[in-house]
């Protein structure tokens, strides 16, 4: 089973408080802590577990700048066998379809039975996996939180749907799946693990290596564009309780009594 997992380097929501830059059109990125997208760790873990059972290899891939190499290396420290970095100035400003198109070009150079992505990343659109599948004419399922059975031709997966229910599907290979958190428990990666893979070669490929027309990708090819960032009007936001902890608790207990909480 040859498995490709698409990953992304993103600002870590657990480690950052987000502020806008001086011009107000972007995040203040100077001190942001980046890490691998949380969903992607579950996708890589799932891929490794499948290969441990049925054999094959796991390749992690990302579209990004040279700093994205660190997330590939982290996933290789988890146990992915290969990494590929797709990087080119022409890729900058790509929308979801641009990214999916870049990935498609590399997918077609290989022979993958399964392609995973995280169910969503920092932008929260959850779009690249589904677009990639449609471009390749592969079947797709999003929000996969269970893989039940896999053989050479088919895979049985559970999708997370509303209300905690699970939708079971049988899908023909090759296919694309977006992986939801909670499907497994991603293994811990320590400094030693990272060191072990520090010297492994990670090929870097650009638009010409992939045979992509620069007009289809990047800012020029993007139909959907982000114009700016802003912090929404906090008009109806919470009454903030301030003072010493004792004072705060006093005020809170008063309110809880009035609202039926005590």
């Amino acid at each position: 089973m040859e498995i490709l997992v698409c990953v992304k380097r993103v600002p870590d929501t657990a480690e950052n408080e987000f502020e806008l830059n001086g011009a107000g059109n972007d995040l203040d990125r100077d001190d942001l802590v980046y890490s691998v997208n949380e969903w992607d760790n579950y996708a890589v873990e799932e891929a490794i577990q499948i290969v441990d059972k049925v054999g094959g290899s796991v390749t992690v891939i990302t579209v990004g700048d040279e700093e994205s190499e660190e997330v590939l290396r982290r996933e290789m420290a988890m146990g992915a066998n290969n990494g590929v970095l797709l990087s080119d100035e022409a890729f900058e400003g790509s929308d979801g379809k641009g990214i999916a198109g870049i990935l498609k070009a590399e997918v077609e150079k290989g022979s993958y039975d399964l392609i995973f992505s995280g169910a969503q990343a920092d932008e929260g659109a959850g779009q690249v996996g589904g677009m990639l599948a449609a471009m390749l004419d592969y079947p797709y399922a999003s929000l996969v939180n269970k893989i039940d059975k896999i053989d050479d031709k088919t895979i049985i997966v559970g999708r997370e749907i509303e209300g905690g229910n699970q939708e079971m599907n049988e899908i023909q290979l090759p296919c694309v799946l977006s992986i939801q958190t909670g499907i497994n428990e991603p293994r811990y990666v320590g400094i030693r693990g990272i060191r072990k893979v520090a010297k492994l070669e990670i090929p870097v490929k650009g638009a010409s290596d992939l045979g992509i027309d620069a007009g289809d990708i990047g800012d020029a090819g993007a139909k959907t564009k982000r114009v700016d960032y802003f912090v929404p009007d906090m008009g109806d936001s919470a009454e903030m309780l301030e003072g010493s902890t004792d004072e705060i608790i006093g005020k809170l207990i008063e309110r809880l009594k009035a609202k039926g909480g005590l």
Partner: protein, 322 residues
């Protein structure tokens, strides 16, 4: 004039709430847009929903096929591509189904894609301006889409003001014959219902709900002690279930339980829309979070910037002494 098509999701013969929210969204895109509802499915359930929609929409298209009895996104996509004009705007709910359908549909229709839109700010030329959120709701962004070749847009459920019902007498057009090939390499098998847990969080008037701020499985006891003192029940957000610290039946959110307590104590919960989607009935929301910028403070009634691991034991003690 813009042609807008709204895909109507339905369960057990009735349309989801978003069916009443599409009209407001469409109006915000273009006041004069022609809005058509599309309902796919099979048999009596489908007809019931189509009739219901004809009271709200002036035009309703229905596609009746056994292959559409369960909404398998891959099959629905095939039908929509054949029925909807390629340059139209298609609205889909940003639900687990919409996330399954939208991205691939936009590729097959060769149109722009925008996901999880919470507001529209009008069209200039061919450029539609929209609002969405990133980074789990921590920041908002304006995005634009070139809609000259159409667009597929998923809208956040609950983001647009619902109609109060309707009394239109719309036309229902049967498009079943135009749906084309509905075969798929993905076959729906069954829905496995959520397991019932030891505690029913939907029955409690007061919930002490914990999120990432609890930091460690051992700290859940601290929340349980507060819940005991308040005669409440402990619930949680998704990361706690992902980490297997509490059972799935304790999870509040669109992918977990929908709760309607009187008081909701959000302890160390950032407040993603998926989580808040499970909190209904307008409870009194108390948010405690050490991050003053956590989105939960935008929806809470009262907010406290503190570390829950220090705050909860003190609150427990104070409540116990009452």
């Amino acid at each position: 004039m813009t042609d807008i098509f709204a895909y109507i999701p339905h369960n057990n013969g009735s349309a989801e709430d978003v069916a009443l929210e599409y009209p407001a969204a469409a109006k915000k895109i273009d006041e004069n847009a022609k809005l058509t509802a599309i309902v796919t499915g099979s048999g009596a359930d489908l007809d019931g929903v189509a009739n219901e929609m004809a009271k709200i929409y002036s035009e309703v298209m229905k596609v009746d096929d056994q292959a559409l009895a369960y909404p398998n996104a891959e099959v629905v996509r095939n039908a929509l591509v054949n029925i909807i004009p390629a340059d139209a705007i298609v609205l889909v709910s940003h639900s687990t189904f919409g996330m399954d359908l939208g991205p691939g549909l936009s590729v097959k229709m060769d149109s722009a894609y925008a996901a999880d839109i919470v507001d529209f700010e009008g069209v200039e030329g061919n450029i539609l301006k929209m609002v969405r959120q990133e980074l789990g709701g921590a920041v908002s962004t304006h995005v634009t889409a070139d809609i000259s070749a159409g667009a597929v847009i998923t809208i956040r459920p609950g983001a647009f003001a619902p109609l109060d019902g309707g009394s239109a007498s719309g036309t229902i057009m049967d498009k079943s014959g135009d749906a084309g090939d509905l075969s798929s390499k993905r076959k729906f098998l069954e829905v496995v219902e959520a397991e019932v847990g030891d505690v029913d969080i939907t029955k409690s008037d007061v919930l002490v709900s914990i999120g990432r701020g609890i930091e460690d499985e051992d700290n859940i006891e601290i929340a349980q002690e507060l819940a005991d003192a308040m005669n409440a029940v402990v619930s949680c957000s998704r990361p706690i279930v992902d980490a297997k610290w509490l059972e799935k039946s304790r999870q509040v959110g669109t992918s977990g339980q929908t709760v309607k307590p009187k008081v909701y104590m959000a302890m160390g919960i950032s407040g993603s829309f998926q989580h808040l989607g499970g909190v209904k009935g307008n409870p009194y929301i108390v948010a405690v979070n050490k991050n003053a910028k956590a989105p939960i403070f935008q929806v809470a009634d009262v907010g406290i910037v503190e570390d829950i691991l220090e705050f909860m034991p003190e609150l427990t003690e104070a409540v116990s002494e009452l």
